[in-house]
Symmetry: C2
Subunit: 158 residues, 2 copies
DNA sequence: GACATATACATAATGCACTGATATAAGTTG
DNA sequence: CAACTTATATCAGTGCATTATGTATATGTC
């Protein structure tokens, strides 16, 4: 328990990191206002903004939801004017989902608001704490890349 | 982009941290299986375990949900045998919510499962990355403490 | 060229977890 | 004791997910 910690795989304080992760998750969720875009909506819009138009099913896979869920989500986004469906002339079964200018604007606005609030929060940390967070960013990116986009196969309860 | 970074309030990469936070949030949510306890359930049980029996309304406040939501949540927890309601002899309007042994066991089991999976994920990072995550833990704790338990007053959209 | 199968999306029915509004019951105060 | 406040429960509605199934289009095989 209180042996010196060398951060190897074996003695990694997974419990603490798990708790921290859940705390952060709840923080983010609590900071979301009703009426805001859902996390999935934001993720889907971000994907569309980053990678360009995308098939509905591919979008579902990449966001880790089922295809019907994505159908509904795209419908909501379309009603809100943030995305549009477009047919694919080469395969008339497919729907290409495009982000609209309004969608891009909504993303930008949301990012700005969240960044502003986060900046405010972070200002209350010590400089050492801020540095430690920045230093952890690459690891976080690696982590989020580790979980495959599709949830089939080896998925397990966490 | 590749200037030396001194992490002051002014030039803190809030956008990046925001993005990382959202990525982590989605990671955690995606790793939750259907049938698992919801995050709110876990948070409520954890609070009960940590601080002992608690009024229903206080629990609602501390988890950042409305009182009806907490009434329902406690009902679910009670049906699942993870918590129980107990009357308060001093004020017969109040309900004291207690965690049960089964609730404690469920928490422990869940923590173990998540820690195991997280360990597996973390094993795929470099040692430097793991160290950076551990180093960021205190900052994360500070951050999660910054957001007050109740959402009234200064709450804003994020 | 026609039929079987696969693929892409939509629709329907359902469930869960939240919200707001309101009811009920129990304390508190003028 | 009436009026008010507090603590919880209940109800209707919403958002976002699920599974199961339907429909249109594509593809492969005989």
């Amino acid at each position: 328990m209180d042996l010196p910690v060398s951060v190897t795989t074996r003695d990694f304080p997974a419990a603490e990191v798990t708790a921290a992760l859940e705390g952060l998750t709840r923080l983010v969720l609590r900071l979301s206002t009703r009426g805001d875009l859902s996390l999935t909506s934001v993720a889907a819009l971000s994907t569309l903004e980053r990678t360009g138009p995308c098939r509905l099913t591919d979008l579902a896979t990449s966001e880790g939801v089922t295809q019907p869920a994505m159908t509904q989500l795209v419908s909501r986004l379309q009603e809100a004017g943030l995305a549009v469906r477009a047919g694919d002339p080469e395969d008339r079964r497919v729907v290409q989902v495009h982000i609209t200018d309004a969608g891009r604007a909504a993303l930008a606005e949301r990012r700005e608001a969240r960044a502003a609030l986060l900046t405010e929060l972070l200002a209350q940390l010590s400089e050492a704490e801020r540095s430690s967070l920045v230093a952890a960013l690459p690891a976080v990116h690696s982590l989020t890349r580790l979980v495959p986009d599709d949830r089939s196969g080896t998925r397990r309860a966490i």
